[in-house]
Symmetry: C2
């Protein structure tokens, strides 16, 4: 185990900028222009958020180094952006809203640290996972540590209802992870279970982010409900896109290896759709799962073959359509939100999520 | 992974009864008689606590089954007993105190579920660990789940200060676990670090248990401080006895394999004292740690030889004396507590801890 070191804080490129580059390169110029607008609208707040995120104590322990290893790699900061945007729909992104934004990013990071141990993942955000550098144990404790830090920050804001809701959501996330574990490797999984997992594991935290921003921004109950609904639908859409990128993404862009879901026996939405459309895939997928412990080099040809069949069956396109539909529902939930820059910004984020490549 | 099942609730023998049997068999008749008195004093409250503990939802998920696997094995319930006794020093063990007692047991159980993954432990309380039955992943998530349940219960009591203190203590526990991880396998460890780990990993939760009981029992600030001090000293004493039992305990009684600390490269207090008293032990311990991955059968002779030298050097007796001294300090901290059955009961628990065999 390496000793705990004070790694220099690597400031990632700005998250809005990241989205913008990707989309611009796709030739979606209208969306790109709107992302530039988004950057003007929310960039200052996100920089304030990043300044607060940097206040998570570095300390001298290996768990703290493990936590900061992942935090320093930045990520998209999409959940904090949701807090900021919801707050700006209301009275603005003040001190307490910023603490809530930091908290949601810490909870998200904590789940990644635990997930990487559960999945024995080697890379994340284009770098070795914390567990490969500091060990599984440090990665588990690092997740616990960030979770506690997040809860203390929420508690510090004085919003008791948000603390209760976060505790309920963490439970929801754990039960969804458990369901995913239990279904792992079972060919012929259930689409309803897939959505149960996506809502619990991913969308619940987006929902909380929107609720937290609305609360700190003192939005009306009706607007707050609309924003929460936006978070839920956006989260499910985001998860489906994530699953598609595992088959069709560019590893150099996503920072993650391809076909990891298949390797981990996770029957994601494109796989489930592929199995429905092309029943002969079943034997292939079952064999791939059975050989999950084989060296990666031996598996890659098989995984590529499955990916091509899923692509060829139209399942990948259908999954992308399902994601777009969810994101359209997210935008529709904004009907109760007064017209303005805030609503426009949320719409832009949703549309960028539908087309994201990382 | 086995599917989540509703295991029948195995009610363990009563914790006070467990202590009593062990001590009685040692011929400590006076203490045995006082333990019978303790059972009369606190037995009803502990049964109420057990009834509440049984309300932790069983659910259908593997994480819940993993959590209940360990909860159903019972354990000593020493931390909840601390809550109950501190509360009875004051106004009594009411509904809120009972919730706090359940919470402290859940936090303790959560740490065991994570520790067993970190240590790759095979048995706990005489049974296979949850991780060997449900897998490491389910055991990690089960710990997370119990932690969240505990925090929700504390929050439900309305004692905001106890919630803040518990969050601070969980952080303390994590940082102590991290220090232990970093020191693991380093022969020639530091006694000061040992006590730092024991205070953070073990004693902090005993301290919280006493504080929580005092708070719910509306004790005066002075009495509450004395009770907290009792918890801290008792916790350190308890940990030293635990370390000694790893060398000299009876595996059939403790439910744990012998020499696990050595196997896991943890330089506990008896080992540190042994190294001080018999420098030639250093090479032997270093070799044992280096061979930690060898089959258990090949290691056992070496571990036994080390245990005998530690015993022969007088280090084990010295460690037991250090534990007794801590426990004497715990009893001394009760000076501010009014005379009565509550104080007598705490004294009995402390003395039973010093002589415990499991």
């Amino acid at each position: 185990m390496p000793s705990a070191v004070h790694a220099p804080a690597v400031r990632p490129p700005h998250p809005v900028g990241q989205l913008s580059t990707v989309v611009g390169s796709q030739g979606l110029f209208d969306l790109a222009a709107r992302l530039t607008e988004l950057e003007r609208w929310i960039g200052g707040e996100l920089r304030d958020f990043e300044r607060d995120l940097a206040t998570v104590p570095r300390g001298v322990r290996a768990v703290q180094a493990a936590a900061h290893h992942l935090l320093d790699l930045g990520g998209k900061h999409l959940r904090p952006m949701c807090v900021a945007l919801a707050a700006k729909v209301g009275a603005g992104f003040g001190d307490r809203a910023r603490q809530l934004a930091v908290a949601v990013e810490l909870v998200h990071t904590a789940t990644l640290l635990h997930d990487d141990v559960v999945d024995l993942a080697a890379t994340r955000r284009g770098e070795p996972t914390a567990r490969t550098i500091y060990g599984n144990a440090a990665s588990i404790f690092a997740g616990d540590w960030l979770l506690v830090d997040a809860l203390r920050r929420i508690r510090g804001t004085g919003y008791g209802d948000l603390l209760d809701e976060m505790l309920a959501i963490i439970e929801e996330m754990i039960l969804a992870e458990s369901l995913q574990l239990e279904r792992r490797g079972q060919v012929g999984g259930d689409v309803a279970d897939y959505f149960r997992v996506a809502e619990g594991k991913t969308a619940a935290l987006f929902r909380w982010a929107m609720r937290a921003g609305a609360r700190a921004g003192e939005c009306s109950p009706e607007v707050a409900r609309g924003l929460e609904r936006f978070g839920l639908e956006l989260g499910v859409g985001f998860q489906i896109v994530d699953d598609c990128l595992d088959f069709a993404g560019d590893a150099a862009v996503t920072g993650k290896a391809l076909y990891t879901d298949l390797r981990e026996g996770k029957l994601t939405y494109p796989i489930l759709l592929g199995l429905e459309r092309d029943p002969s895939l079943e034997a292939l997928v079952a064999e791939a799962i059975a050989r999950a412990d084989a060296p990666a080099g031996e598996q890659i040809a098989q995984h590529r073959a499955i990916a091509e069949r899923i692509h060829g069956s139209g399942a990948l396109a259908e999954a992308r359509r399902a994601a777009s539909e969810r994101i359209a529902r997210a935008v529709a939930a904004l009907a109760v939100v007064p017209e303005g820059a805030g609503k426009a910004a949320l719409t832009t984020v949703a549309e960028a999520t539908a087309t994201r490549e990382k």
